[in-house]
Symmetry: C2
Subunit: 332 residues, 2 copies
Protein backbone atom coordinates (compact mmCIF):
# COMPACT_ATOMS: atom_id res chain seq x y z
CA UNK A 1 0.00 0.00 0.00
CA UNK A 2 1.32 3.39 -0.95
CA UNK A 3 0.91 6.11 1.66
CA UNK A 4 -0.27 9.21 -0.18
CA UNK A 5 1.52 12.48 0.56
CA UNK A 6 -1.47 13.95 2.32
CA UNK A 7 -1.59 11.05 4.80
CA UNK A 8 2.01 11.50 5.92
CA UNK A 9 3.13 12.99 9.20
CA UNK A 10 5.59 15.86 9.13
CA UNK A 11 8.51 16.09 11.60
CA UNK A 12 9.13 19.75 12.39
CA UNK A 13 11.60 21.63 14.56
CA UNK A 14 11.27 25.26 15.65
CA UNK A 15 14.76 26.33 16.70
CA UNK A 16 14.72 29.58 18.66
CA UNK A 17 17.22 31.51 20.76
CA UNK A 18 15.72 30.23 24.03
CA UNK A 19 13.77 27.11 23.22
CA UNK A 20 13.39 24.29 20.78
CA UNK A 21 10.01 22.80 19.90
CA UNK A 22 10.00 19.48 18.06
CA UNK A 23 6.70 18.10 16.81
CA UNK A 24 5.08 15.55 14.58
CA UNK A 25 2.20 17.17 12.73
CA UNK A 26 -0.49 15.91 10.38
CA UNK A 27 -1.18 17.48 7.01
CA UNK A 28 -4.19 19.37 8.32
CA UNK A 29 -2.16 20.90 11.14
CA UNK A 30 -3.02 18.53 13.98
CA UNK A 31 -0.12 18.08 16.39
CA UNK A 32 0.34 14.34 17.02
CA UNK A 33 3.29 14.57 19.43
CA UNK A 34 5.55 17.34 20.63
CA UNK A 35 8.38 18.18 22.99
CA UNK A 36 9.76 21.53 24.23
CA UNK A 37 13.35 21.85 25.48
CA UNK A 38 15.68 24.74 26.30
CA UNK A 39 18.04 25.65 23.44
CA UNK A 40 21.03 26.29 25.75
CA UNK A 41 22.46 28.24 22.84
CA UNK A 42 25.62 29.15 24.76
CA UNK A 43 26.80 25.55 24.29
CA UNK A 44 27.35 26.28 20.58
CA UNK A 45 26.05 24.88 17.27
CA UNK A 46 27.05 21.21 17.61
CA UNK A 47 25.45 20.75 21.02
CA UNK A 48 22.32 22.58 19.91
CA UNK A 49 21.99 20.50 16.72
CA UNK A 50 22.48 17.26 18.73
CA UNK A 51 19.82 18.32 21.25
CA UNK A 52 17.45 19.33 18.49
CA UNK A 53 17.78 16.01 16.67
CA UNK A 54 17.55 13.93 19.86
CA UNK A 55 14.36 15.78 20.75
CA UNK A 56 12.90 15.23 17.29
CA UNK A 57 13.75 11.51 17.39
CA UNK A 58 12.10 11.32 20.81
CA UNK A 59 8.91 12.86 19.43
CA UNK A 60 8.80 10.39 16.52
CA UNK A 61 9.29 7.44 18.91
CA UNK A 62 6.56 8.83 21.15
CA UNK A 63 4.19 8.33 18.20
CA UNK A 64 5.43 4.72 17.84
CA UNK A 65 7.05 5.54 14.51
CA UNK A 66 10.57 5.72 13.19
CA UNK A 67 12.28 8.06 10.76
CA UNK A 68 12.42 5.35 8.11
CA UNK A 69 8.66 4.76 8.26
CA UNK A 70 6.89 5.53 4.98
CA UNK A 71 4.31 7.42 7.06
CA UNK A 72 6.93 10.10 7.79
CA UNK A 73 7.49 12.91 5.27
CA UNK A 74 10.50 15.15 4.71
CA UNK A 75 11.65 17.20 7.72
CA UNK A 76 11.16 20.93 8.13
CA UNK A 77 13.41 23.06 10.32
CA UNK A 78 12.35 26.61 11.15
CA UNK A 79 15.47 28.28 12.48
CA UNK A 80 16.27 31.70 13.91
CA UNK A 81 18.76 33.62 11.76
CA UNK A 82 19.47 34.67 8.20
CA UNK A 83 18.88 31.65 5.96
CA UNK A 84 20.57 31.20 2.61
CA UNK A 85 17.65 29.40 0.94
CA UNK A 86 19.63 28.30 -2.10
CA UNK A 87 22.21 26.40 -0.04
CA UNK A 88 20.32 25.51 3.15
CA UNK A 89 22.75 27.45 5.34
CA UNK A 90 22.15 29.47 8.51
CA UNK A 91 24.55 32.27 7.61
CA UNK A 92 24.29 34.09 10.93
CA UNK A 93 21.94 34.16 13.88
CA UNK A 94 22.45 36.86 16.51
CA UNK A 95 20.74 34.83 19.26
CA UNK A 96 22.55 31.56 18.53
CA UNK A 97 26.19 32.23 19.46
CA UNK A 98 28.70 30.66 17.06
CA UNK A 99 26.18 30.10 14.26
CA UNK A 100 28.13 31.40 11.28
CA UNK A 101 27.59 29.62 7.95
CA UNK A 102 26.19 26.46 9.52
CA UNK A 103 25.25 23.98 6.78
CA UNK A 104 22.17 22.93 8.71
CA UNK A 105 20.26 21.30 5.84
CA UNK A 106 23.18 19.09 4.82
CA UNK A 107 24.17 18.21 8.42
CA UNK A 108 20.67 17.15 9.39
CA UNK A 109 20.10 15.24 6.14
CA UNK A 110 23.29 13.26 6.78
CA UNK A 111 22.32 12.57 10.39
CA UNK A 112 18.67 11.73 9.78
CA UNK A 113 18.75 10.21 6.30
CA UNK A 114 15.83 12.32 5.20
CA UNK A 115 15.49 15.39 3.00
CA UNK A 116 15.22 18.64 4.98
CA UNK A 117 13.50 21.91 4.16
CA UNK A 118 15.01 24.91 5.96
CA UNK A 119 13.15 28.15 6.61
CA UNK A 120 13.56 31.16 8.89
CA UNK A 121 11.42 30.77 12.03
CA UNK A 122 9.60 34.08 11.65
CA UNK A 123 8.98 33.44 7.95
CA UNK A 124 7.44 30.10 8.91
CA UNK A 125 5.34 31.81 11.56
CA UNK A 126 4.06 34.32 8.99
CA UNK A 127 2.95 31.45 6.75
CA UNK A 128 1.42 29.69 9.76
CA UNK A 129 -0.68 32.68 10.82
CA UNK A 130 -1.67 33.31 7.20
CA UNK A 131 -2.78 29.73 6.67
CA UNK A 132 -4.17 28.71 10.06
CA UNK A 133 -4.20 31.77 12.36
CA UNK A 134 -4.98 35.47 12.69
CA UNK A 135 -4.10 36.20 9.05
CA UNK A 136 -6.48 33.79 7.30
CA UNK A 137 -7.72 35.52 4.13
CA UNK A 138 -5.35 38.49 4.58
CA UNK A 139 -3.00 38.72 1.63
CA UNK A 140 -0.68 41.54 2.75
CA UNK A 141 0.57 41.03 6.27
CA UNK A 142 3.67 41.26 8.41
CA UNK A 143 4.28 38.82 11.24
CA UNK A 144 6.50 40.19 14.03
CA UNK A 145 7.89 37.89 16.69
CA UNK A 146 8.94 39.67 19.88
CA UNK A 147 10.86 37.11 21.83
CA UNK A 148 14.53 36.69 22.88
CA UNK A 149 15.14 38.51 19.62
CA UNK A 150 12.81 40.21 17.14
CA UNK A 151 12.12 38.67 13.75
CA UNK A 152 9.63 39.12 10.98
CA UNK A 153 7.93 37.41 8.08
CA UNK A 154 6.39 39.21 5.13
CA UNK A 155 3.38 37.99 3.15
CA UNK A 156 2.68 39.96 -0.04
CA UNK A 157 -0.11 39.02 -2.43
CA UNK A 158 -0.70 35.88 -0.36
CA UNK A 159 2.86 34.58 -0.67
CA UNK A 160 5.94 34.62 1.54
CA UNK A 161 8.38 37.27 0.36
CA UNK A 162 11.89 35.89 0.92
CA UNK A 163 14.09 38.30 -1.04
CA UNK A 164 16.80 37.29 -3.44
CA UNK A 165 18.81 35.06 -1.06
CA UNK A 166 16.07 34.02 1.35
CA UNK A 167 16.82 36.31 4.29
CA UNK A 168 14.13 39.00 3.88
CA UNK A 169 12.12 40.00 6.95
CA UNK A 170 14.92 40.82 9.41
CA UNK A 171 12.88 43.68 10.81
CA UNK A 172 14.45 43.27 14.25
CA UNK A 173 17.64 44.57 12.69
CA UNK A 174 16.21 47.83 11.47
CA UNK A 175 17.94 50.77 13.17
CA UNK A 176 15.50 53.04 14.97
CA UNK A 177 18.09 54.85 17.09
CA UNK A 178 21.33 55.72 15.36
CA UNK A 179 22.82 56.60 18.75
CA UNK A 180 21.47 53.44 20.36
CA UNK A 181 23.20 50.37 21.78
CA UNK A 182 25.37 48.05 19.69
CA UNK A 183 23.35 45.03 18.61
CA UNK A 184 24.72 41.48 18.52
CA UNK A 185 24.16 41.52 14.72
CA UNK A 186 26.83 44.21 14.27
CA UNK A 187 24.42 47.07 13.62
CA UNK A 188 23.59 49.97 15.98
CA UNK A 189 20.28 50.84 17.64
CA UNK A 190 18.34 47.93 16.13
CA UNK A 191 14.73 47.41 17.15
CA UNK A 192 15.87 44.11 18.68
CA UNK A 193 18.44 45.85 20.86
CA UNK A 194 15.67 48.06 22.30
CA UNK A 195 12.40 46.13 22.29
CA UNK A 196 13.20 42.41 22.66
CA UNK A 197 13.06 40.10 25.66
CA UNK A 198 16.85 40.40 25.91
CA UNK A 199 16.59 44.20 25.91
CA UNK A 200 13.96 44.37 28.65
CA UNK A 201 15.95 41.94 30.85
CA UNK A 202 19.14 43.96 30.29
CA UNK A 203 17.39 47.20 31.21
CA UNK A 204 15.80 45.69 34.33
CA UNK A 205 19.20 44.35 35.41
CA UNK A 206 20.84 47.72 34.82
CA UNK A 207 18.21 49.68 36.75
CA UNK A 208 18.21 47.28 39.68
CA UNK A 209 22.02 47.21 39.79
CA UNK A 210 21.89 51.01 39.93
CA UNK A 211 19.75 50.70 43.07
CA UNK A 212 16.11 50.90 41.88
CA UNK A 213 13.92 48.87 44.25
CA UNK A 214 11.58 46.48 42.46
CA UNK A 215 9.53 43.34 42.92
CA UNK A 216 11.41 42.05 39.85
CA UNK A 217 14.44 41.09 41.97
CA UNK A 218 12.25 39.24 44.48
CA UNK A 219 10.53 37.28 41.68
CA UNK A 220 14.02 36.45 40.35
CA UNK A 221 14.78 34.95 43.77
CA UNK A 222 17.29 37.67 44.51
CA UNK A 223 19.52 36.70 41.56
CA UNK A 224 20.02 39.52 39.09
CA UNK A 225 20.96 37.04 36.35
CA UNK A 226 17.65 35.22 36.68
CA UNK A 227 15.79 38.30 35.48
CA UNK A 228 13.99 37.78 32.17
CA UNK A 229 11.09 39.30 30.28
CA UNK A 230 8.56 36.92 31.82
CA UNK A 231 9.56 37.99 35.34
CA UNK A 232 9.31 41.67 34.37
CA UNK A 233 5.85 40.96 32.94
CA UNK A 234 4.74 39.17 36.14
CA UNK A 235 6.02 42.07 38.26
CA UNK A 236 4.12 44.56 36.08
CA UNK A 237 0.87 42.63 36.51
CA UNK A 238 1.37 42.95 40.26
CA UNK A 239 1.77 46.72 39.93
CA UNK A 240 5.55 47.07 40.22
CA UNK A 241 6.51 50.60 39.13
CA UNK A 242 9.84 49.75 37.48
CA UNK A 243 8.34 46.83 35.56
CA UNK A 244 5.47 48.98 34.30
CA UNK A 245 7.91 51.69 33.23
CA UNK A 246 10.15 49.21 31.40
CA UNK A 247 7.26 47.63 29.52
CA UNK A 248 5.88 51.03 28.59
CA UNK A 249 9.33 51.97 27.22
CA UNK A 250 9.61 48.75 25.22
CA UNK A 251 6.07 49.21 23.88
CA UNK A 252 7.06 52.67 22.64
CA UNK A 253 10.11 51.27 20.83
CA UNK A 254 7.99 48.49 19.36
CA UNK A 255 5.46 51.12 18.24
CA UNK A 256 8.21 53.06 16.45
CA UNK A 257 9.24 49.87 14.64
CA UNK A 258 5.61 49.29 13.66
CA UNK A 259 5.28 52.86 12.33
CA UNK A 260 8.19 52.09 10.01
CA UNK A 261 6.53 48.88 8.82
CA UNK A 262 3.18 50.64 8.32
CA UNK A 263 4.76 53.44 6.26
CA UNK A 264 6.92 51.06 4.22
CA UNK A 265 4.44 48.21 3.60
CA UNK A 266 0.95 49.69 4.01
CA UNK A 267 -0.05 46.18 5.21
CA UNK A 268 -3.58 45.05 5.94
CA UNK A 269 -2.47 43.40 9.17
CA UNK A 270 0.49 43.18 11.54
CA UNK A 271 0.46 40.10 13.76
CA UNK A 272 2.49 40.22 16.96
CA UNK A 273 3.74 36.87 18.26
CA UNK A 274 6.63 35.53 20.30
CA UNK A 275 6.97 35.18 24.07
CA UNK A 276 6.70 38.91 24.79
CA UNK A 277 3.31 39.04 23.05
CA UNK A 278 1.92 37.21 26.08
CA UNK A 279 2.07 40.62 27.76
CA UNK A 280 -1.04 41.28 25.68
CA UNK A 281 -2.58 44.74 25.72
CA UNK A 282 0.07 45.99 28.16
CA UNK A 283 2.43 45.84 25.16
CA UNK A 284 0.03 46.22 22.22
CA UNK A 285 -2.09 49.21 23.31
CA UNK A 286 0.77 51.71 23.68
CA UNK A 287 2.39 50.38 20.49
CA UNK A 288 -0.88 50.87 18.55
CA UNK A 289 -1.15 54.39 19.93
CA UNK A 290 2.31 55.31 18.62
CA UNK A 291 1.22 54.04 15.18
CA UNK A 292 -1.92 56.19 15.31
CA UNK A 293 0.10 59.25 16.32
CA UNK A 294 3.07 58.93 14.01
CA UNK A 295 2.35 56.85 10.90
CA UNK A 296 0.82 58.28 7.73
CA UNK A 297 -2.93 58.47 8.26
CA UNK A 298 -3.93 56.33 5.23
CA UNK A 299 -1.87 53.22 6.08
CA UNK A 300 -2.41 53.72 9.85
CA UNK A 301 -6.16 53.51 9.30
CA UNK A 302 -5.80 50.52 6.99
CA UNK A 303 -3.79 48.30 9.34
CA UNK A 304 -5.02 46.00 12.10
CA UNK A 305 -2.40 45.24 14.76
CA UNK A 306 -3.40 41.98 16.41
CA UNK A 307 -1.89 39.26 18.59
CA UNK A 308 -0.87 35.92 17.12
CA UNK A 309 -3.59 33.26 17.25
CA UNK A 310 -1.24 30.29 17.13
CA UNK A 311 1.09 31.45 19.92
CA UNK A 312 3.99 29.01 20.39
CA UNK A 313 2.84 27.02 17.35
CA UNK A 314 3.00 29.68 14.59
CA UNK A 315 6.35 28.44 13.26
CA UNK A 316 5.51 24.74 13.68
CA UNK A 317 2.23 25.01 11.77
CA UNK A 318 3.77 27.40 9.26
CA UNK A 319 6.47 24.82 8.56
CA UNK A 320 3.76 22.32 7.66
CA UNK A 321 2.15 24.82 5.29
CA UNK A 322 5.60 25.59 3.84
CA UNK A 323 6.17 21.89 3.05
CA UNK A 324 2.76 21.67 1.42
CA UNK A 325 3.50 24.74 -0.73
CA UNK A 326 6.82 23.23 -1.73
CA UNK A 327 5.07 20.02 -2.82
CA UNK A 328 2.37 21.96 -4.63
CA UNK A 329 4.97 24.00 -6.51
CA UNK A 330 7.07 20.98 -7.42
CA UNK A 331 4.14 19.13 -9.05
CA UNK A 332 2.83 22.13 -10.97
CA UNK B 1 -9.21 55.10 -39.21
CA UNK B 2 -8.85 53.81 -35.70
CA UNK B 3 -5.67 54.74 -33.82
CA UNK B 4 -4.50 51.63 -32.02
CA UNK B 5 -3.60 51.93 -28.34
CA UNK B 6 0.09 51.39 -29.01
CA UNK B 7 0.24 54.33 -31.46
CA UNK B 8 -1.15 56.82 -28.95
CA UNK B 9 0.85 59.46 -27.13
CA UNK B 10 0.66 59.59 -23.37
CA UNK B 11 0.42 62.89 -21.48
CA UNK B 12 2.29 62.53 -18.18
CA UNK B 13 2.95 64.81 -15.22
CA UNK B 14 5.60 64.26 -12.55
CA UNK B 15 4.54 66.43 -9.61
CA UNK B 16 7.35 66.82 -7.07
CA UNK B 17 7.97 69.06 -4.07
CA UNK B 18 10.28 71.38 -6.04
CA UNK B 19 9.48 70.88 -9.69
CA UNK B 20 6.87 69.72 -12.14
CA UNK B 21 7.73 67.90 -15.35
CA UNK B 22 5.00 67.59 -17.97
CA UNK B 23 5.68 65.46 -21.03
CA UNK B 24 4.10 63.78 -24.00
CA UNK B 25 5.61 60.33 -24.41
CA UNK B 26 5.28 57.59 -26.99
CA UNK B 27 4.46 54.00 -26.12
CA UNK B 28 8.08 52.93 -26.45
CA UNK B 29 9.25 55.64 -24.04
CA UNK B 30 10.33 58.32 -26.49
CA UNK B 31 9.72 61.82 -25.15
CA UNK B 32 7.97 63.87 -27.87
CA UNK B 33 7.66 67.13 -25.94
CA UNK B 34 8.32 68.23 -22.39
CA UNK B 35 8.35 71.20 -20.04
CA UNK B 36 9.87 71.69 -16.57
CA UNK B 37 8.49 74.32 -14.18
CA UNK B 38 8.95 75.11 -10.50
CA UNK B 39 6.19 73.65 -8.30
CA UNK B 40 6.00 76.72 -6.03
CA UNK B 41 4.30 74.39 -3.56
CA UNK B 42 3.91 77.16 -0.97
CA UNK B 43 1.12 78.63 -3.12
CA UNK B 44 -1.11 75.69 -2.15
CA UNK B 45 -2.94 72.91 -3.99
CA UNK B 46 -5.18 74.94 -6.32
CA UNK B 47 -2.35 77.05 -7.70
CA UNK B 48 -0.14 73.98 -8.12
CA UNK B 49 -2.87 72.02 -9.93
CA UNK B 50 -3.56 74.99 -12.25
CA UNK B 51 0.15 75.34 -13.06
CA UNK B 52 0.49 71.60 -13.63
CA UNK B 53 -2.44 71.49 -16.06
CA UNK B 54 -1.40 74.64 -17.90
CA UNK B 55 2.06 73.15 -18.35
CA UNK B 56 0.64 69.88 -19.62
CA UNK B 57 -1.68 71.67 -22.08
CA UNK B 58 1.34 73.68 -23.28
CA UNK B 59 3.27 70.48 -23.93
CA UNK B 60 0.38 68.97 -25.91
CA UNK B 61 0.04 72.15 -28.04
CA UNK B 62 3.80 72.14 -28.62
CA UNK B 63 3.28 68.80 -30.37
CA UNK B 64 0.50 70.37 -32.49
CA UNK B 65 -2.11 68.21 -30.81
CA UNK B 66 -5.04 68.83 -28.53
CA UNK B 67 -6.44 66.91 -25.58
CA UNK B 68 -9.43 65.79 -27.62
CA UNK B 69 -7.27 64.29 -30.35
CA UNK B 70 -7.72 60.54 -30.77
CA UNK B 71 -3.92 60.27 -30.84
CA UNK B 72 -3.82 61.20 -27.13
CA UNK B 73 -4.30 58.46 -24.51
CA UNK B 74 -5.44 58.69 -20.92
CA UNK B 75 -3.37 60.93 -18.62
CA UNK B 76 -0.98 59.71 -15.93
CA UNK B 77 -0.04 61.81 -12.91
CA UNK B 78 2.88 60.71 -10.75
CA UNK B 79 2.51 62.71 -7.55
CA UNK B 80 4.55 63.05 -4.37
CA UNK B 81 2.63 61.87 -1.30
CA UNK B 82 0.55 58.99 0.01
CA UNK B 83 -1.89 57.98 -2.72
CA UNK B 84 -5.21 56.29 -2.01
CA UNK B 85 -5.25 54.18 -5.17
CA UNK B 86 -8.86 53.09 -4.78
CA UNK B 87 -10.18 56.66 -4.78
CA UNK B 88 -7.51 58.60 -6.68
CA UNK B 89 -6.77 60.85 -3.71
CA UNK B 90 -3.50 62.38 -2.51
CA UNK B 91 -4.20 61.86 1.19
CA UNK B 92 -1.13 63.75 2.42
CA UNK B 93 2.17 64.93 1.01
CA UNK B 94 4.76 66.36 3.42
CA UNK B 95 6.49 68.42 0.71
CA UNK B 96 3.29 69.85 -0.78
CA UNK B 97 1.88 72.13 1.94
CA UNK B 98 -1.92 71.99 2.24
CA UNK B 99 -2.28 68.72 0.32
CA UNK B 100 -4.67 66.84 2.58
CA UNK B 101 -7.19 64.55 0.89
CA UNK B 102 -6.90 66.23 -2.50
CA UNK B 103 -9.18 64.45 -5.00
CA UNK B 104 -6.59 64.85 -7.73
CA UNK B 105 -7.91 62.21 -10.13
CA UNK B 106 -11.46 63.59 -10.13
CA UNK B 107 -10.35 67.24 -10.28
CA UNK B 108 -8.07 66.69 -13.27
CA UNK B 109 -10.61 64.48 -15.07
CA UNK B 110 -13.23 67.24 -14.73
CA UNK B 111 -10.78 69.90 -15.94
CA UNK B 112 -9.24 67.92 -18.80
CA UNK B 113 -12.15 65.73 -19.91
CA UNK B 114 -9.90 62.67 -19.96
CA UNK B 115 -9.50 59.67 -17.69
CA UNK B 116 -6.56 59.99 -15.28
CA UNK B 117 -4.35 57.34 -13.69
CA UNK B 118 -2.76 58.46 -10.41
CA UNK B 119 0.40 56.93 -8.95
CA UNK B 120 2.99 57.90 -6.36
CA UNK B 121 6.03 59.51 -8.01
CA UNK B 122 8.58 57.14 -6.46
CA UNK B 123 6.44 54.10 -7.28
CA UNK B 124 6.34 55.30 -10.89
CA UNK B 125 10.11 55.80 -10.84
CA UNK B 126 10.61 52.23 -9.56
CA UNK B 127 8.54 50.92 -12.48
CA UNK B 128 10.47 53.20 -14.85
CA UNK B 129 13.89 51.96 -13.74
CA UNK B 130 12.64 48.36 -13.80
CA UNK B 131 11.28 48.66 -17.32
CA UNK B 132 13.69 51.06 -19.02
CA UNK B 133 16.60 51.79 -16.63
CA UNK B 134 19.10 50.36 -14.15
CA UNK B 135 16.71 47.64 -12.98
CA UNK B 136 15.98 45.92 -16.30
CA UNK B 137 15.69 42.19 -15.61
CA UNK B 138 15.94 42.65 -11.83
CA UNK B 139 12.79 41.37 -10.17
CA UNK B 140 13.39 42.40 -6.55
CA UNK B 141 14.46 45.99 -6.25
CA UNK B 142 13.91 49.14 -4.24
CA UNK B 143 14.03 52.56 -5.87
CA UNK B 144 14.97 55.37 -3.48
CA UNK B 145 14.56 58.99 -4.51
CA UNK B 146 16.68 61.42 -2.51
CA UNK B 147 15.40 64.83 -3.43
CA UNK B 148 13.51 67.60 -1.59
CA UNK B 149 12.05 64.66 0.30
CA UNK B 150 12.87 60.94 0.29
CA UNK B 151 10.51 58.42 -1.29
CA UNK B 152 10.62 54.84 -2.40
CA UNK B 153 9.12 52.31 -4.75
CA UNK B 154 9.20 48.57 -4.19
CA UNK B 155 9.32 45.94 -6.95
CA UNK B 156 8.81 42.36 -5.72
CA UNK B 157 8.67 39.44 -8.12
CA UNK B 158 8.75 41.89 -11.02
CA UNK B 159 5.67 43.84 -9.91
CA UNK B 160 5.08 47.10 -8.06
CA UNK B 161 4.13 46.42 -4.45
CA UNK B 162 1.57 49.07 -3.46
CA UNK B 163 0.18 47.74 -0.17
CA UNK B 164 -3.47 47.48 0.69
CA UNK B 165 -4.39 51.15 0.08
CA UNK B 166 -1.72 52.10 -2.44
CA UNK B 167 0.68 54.01 -0.20
CA UNK B 168 3.46 51.44 0.33
CA UNK B 169 7.05 52.56 -0.12
CA UNK B 170 7.17 55.59 2.17
CA UNK B 171 10.71 54.70 3.21
CA UNK B 172 11.59 58.36 3.77
CA UNK B 173 9.26 58.20 6.74
CA UNK B 174 11.02 55.40 8.52
CA UNK B 175 12.40 56.54 11.88
CA UNK B 176 16.15 56.01 12.19
CA UNK B 177 16.67 58.31 15.16
CA UNK B 178 13.99 58.20 17.83
CA UNK B 179 15.51 61.32 19.41
CA UNK B 180 15.80 63.06 16.04
CA UNK B 181 14.05 66.12 14.60
CA UNK B 182 10.28 66.32 14.08
CA UNK B 183 9.44 65.53 10.48
CA UNK B 184 6.80 67.39 8.47
CA UNK B 185 4.88 64.08 8.22
CA UNK B 186 4.22 64.07 11.98
CA UNK B 187 6.77 61.37 12.82
CA UNK B 188 10.12 61.81 14.60
CA UNK B 189 13.65 61.22 13.27
CA UNK B 190 12.54 60.10 9.80
CA UNK B 191 15.19 59.33 7.20
CA UNK B 192 13.77 62.28 5.22
CA UNK B 193 14.30 64.67 8.13
CA UNK B 194 18.00 63.68 8.20
CA UNK B 195 19.13 62.76 4.68
CA UNK B 196 17.01 64.75 2.19
CA UNK B 197 17.77 67.90 0.22
CA UNK B 198 15.67 69.83 2.73
CA UNK B 199 17.70 68.39 5.61
CA UNK B 200 21.09 69.23 4.12
CA UNK B 201 19.97 72.79 3.34
CA UNK B 202 18.61 73.20 6.88
CA UNK B 203 21.86 71.94 8.42
CA UNK B 204 23.99 74.19 6.21
CA UNK B 205 21.85 77.18 7.16
CA UNK B 206 22.09 76.31 10.84
CA UNK B 207 25.87 75.89 10.82
CA UNK B 208 26.47 79.08 8.85
CA UNK B 209 24.10 81.05 11.09
CA UNK B 210 26.12 79.75 14.04
CA UNK B 211 29.21 81.30 12.46
CA UNK B 212 30.89 78.51 10.44
CA UNK B 213 32.71 80.04 7.47
CA UNK B 214 31.94 78.34 4.17
CA UNK B 215 31.97 78.79 0.43
CA UNK B 216 28.32 77.74 0.58
CA UNK B 217 27.21 81.23 1.60
CA UNK B 218 29.17 82.82 -1.22
CA UNK B 219 27.64 80.45 -3.78
CA UNK B 220 24.24 81.39 -2.32
CA UNK B 221 25.09 85.02 -3.12
CA UNK B 222 25.27 85.87 0.56
CA UNK B 223 21.61 84.97 1.17
CA UNK B 224 21.19 82.22 3.75
CA UNK B 225 17.73 81.37 2.39
CA UNK B 226 19.14 80.67 -1.07
CA UNK B 227 21.08 77.70 0.27
CA UNK B 228 19.96 74.38 -1.16
CA UNK B 229 21.40 70.91 -1.68
CA UNK B 230 22.75 71.75 -5.13
CA UNK B 231 24.77 74.66 -3.73
CA UNK B 232 26.15 72.46 -0.94
CA UNK B 233 27.12 69.90 -3.56
CA UNK B 234 28.87 72.55 -5.69
CA UNK B 235 30.76 73.82 -2.64
CA UNK B 236 31.87 70.27 -1.78
CA UNK B 237 33.23 69.73 -5.29
CA UNK B 238 35.33 72.85 -4.78
CA UNK B 239 36.72 71.43 -1.53
CA UNK B 240 34.66 73.37 1.03
CA UNK B 241 35.15 71.74 4.44
CA UNK B 242 31.64 72.35 5.79
CA UNK B 243 30.01 71.12 2.59
CA UNK B 244 32.10 67.94 2.60
CA UNK B 245 31.25 67.34 6.26
CA UNK B 246 27.51 67.84 5.65
CA UNK B 247 27.44 65.48 2.67
CA UNK B 248 29.41 62.87 4.58
CA UNK B 249 26.87 63.12 7.42
CA UNK B 250 23.91 62.80 5.05
CA UNK B 251 25.56 59.82 3.31
CA UNK B 252 25.89 58.11 6.69
CA UNK B 253 22.20 58.66 7.43
CA UNK B 254 21.29 57.42 3.96
CA UNK B 255 23.50 54.36 4.55
CA UNK B 256 21.62 53.60 7.78
CA UNK B 257 18.33 53.79 5.89
CA UNK B 258 19.74 51.44 3.25
CA UNK B 259 20.91 48.96 5.93
CA UNK B 260 17.29 48.80 7.09
CA UNK B 261 16.06 48.17 3.56
CA UNK B 262 18.73 45.52 2.95
CA UNK B 263 17.86 43.65 6.17
CA UNK B 264 14.11 43.92 5.60
CA UNK B 265 13.90 43.23 1.84
CA UNK B 266 17.09 41.33 0.91
CA UNK B 267 16.73 43.02 -2.51
CA UNK B 268 18.84 42.28 -5.55
CA UNK B 269 19.27 45.99 -6.24
CA UNK B 270 18.73 49.40 -4.68
CA UNK B 271 18.56 52.25 -7.18
CA UNK B 272 19.27 55.76 -5.91
CA UNK B 273 17.63 58.57 -7.86
CA UNK B 274 16.37 62.09 -7.21
CA UNK B 275 18.25 65.39 -7.36
CA UNK B 276 20.69 64.51 -4.56
CA UNK B 277 21.84 61.43 -6.47
CA UNK B 278 23.66 63.82 -8.81
CA UNK B 279 26.24 64.02 -6.02
CA UNK B 280 27.25 60.58 -7.33
CA UNK B 281 29.96 58.65 -5.51
CA UNK B 282 30.37 61.46 -2.95
CA UNK B 283 27.00 60.27 -1.60
CA UNK B 284 26.92 56.62 -2.69
CA UNK B 285 30.38 55.40 -1.60
CA UNK B 286 30.03 56.20 2.11
CA UNK B 287 26.43 54.92 2.07
CA UNK B 288 27.57 51.61 0.54
CA UNK B 289 30.29 51.34 3.16
CA UNK B 290 27.76 51.65 5.99
CA UNK B 291 25.76 48.83 4.38
CA UNK B 292 28.88 46.64 4.21
CA UNK B 293 29.71 47.35 7.85
CA UNK B 294 26.27 47.07 9.42
CA UNK B 295 23.84 44.98 7.38
CA UNK B 296 23.60 41.20 7.64
CA UNK B 297 26.38 39.72 5.53
CA UNK B 298 24.15 37.57 3.29
CA UNK B 299 21.84 40.35 2.01
CA UNK B 300 24.69 42.91 2.03
CA UNK B 301 26.63 40.72 -0.39
CA UNK B 302 23.55 40.10 -2.52
CA UNK B 303 22.63 43.74 -3.13
CA UNK B 304 23.92 46.16 -5.75
CA UNK B 305 23.50 49.82 -4.82
CA UNK B 306 23.52 51.81 -8.05
CA UNK B 307 22.54 55.25 -9.35
CA UNK B 308 19.39 55.75 -11.39
CA UNK B 309 19.88 55.48 -15.15
CA UNK B 310 16.86 57.58 -16.09
CA UNK B 311 17.63 60.53 -13.82
CA UNK B 312 14.89 63.18 -14.03
CA UNK B 313 12.81 60.89 -16.25
CA UNK B 314 12.36 57.83 -14.00
CA UNK B 315 8.83 58.84 -12.95
CA UNK B 316 7.81 60.05 -16.40
CA UNK B 317 8.87 56.84 -18.13
CA UNK B 318 7.55 54.74 -15.26
CA UNK B 319 4.16 56.41 -15.68
CA UNK B 320 4.10 55.24 -19.28
CA UNK B 321 4.93 51.68 -18.23
CA UNK B 322 2.25 51.95 -15.51
CA UNK B 323 -0.40 52.88 -18.09
CA UNK B 324 0.68 49.99 -20.29
CA UNK B 325 0.42 47.57 -17.35
CA UNK B 326 -3.03 48.93 -16.55
CA UNK B 327 -4.15 48.32 -20.14
CA UNK B 328 -2.58 44.88 -20.18
CA UNK B 329 -4.36 43.95 -16.93
CA UNK B 330 -7.71 45.29 -18.06
CA UNK B 331 -7.78 43.23 -21.27
CA UNK B 332 -6.62 39.99 -19.65
Amino acid sequence: MVTSVSEKLIPVVDLGGSKIIAALVSYNGEIIAEEHVATLAEQGPNAVIDRMLATLKGVISKANLSLSSPAISRLVIASAGAIDKHNGIVTSSPNLPGWQNITLKETVEKEMGREVLLINDASAAAIGEHRFGAGRGVDNLIYVTVSTGIGGGIITDGKLYTGVSGSAGEIGHMCINLNGPHCSCGNIGCLESLASGKAIAREAQRRITQGTKSLILELAEGEIHNINARIVSDAARRGDTLAIELISQVATYLGIGLVNLVNIFNPEMIIIGGGMSQMGEMLLSPARQIVEERAYRLPAEAVQIVPSELGDYSSILGSVAFLQLDEFNSVR
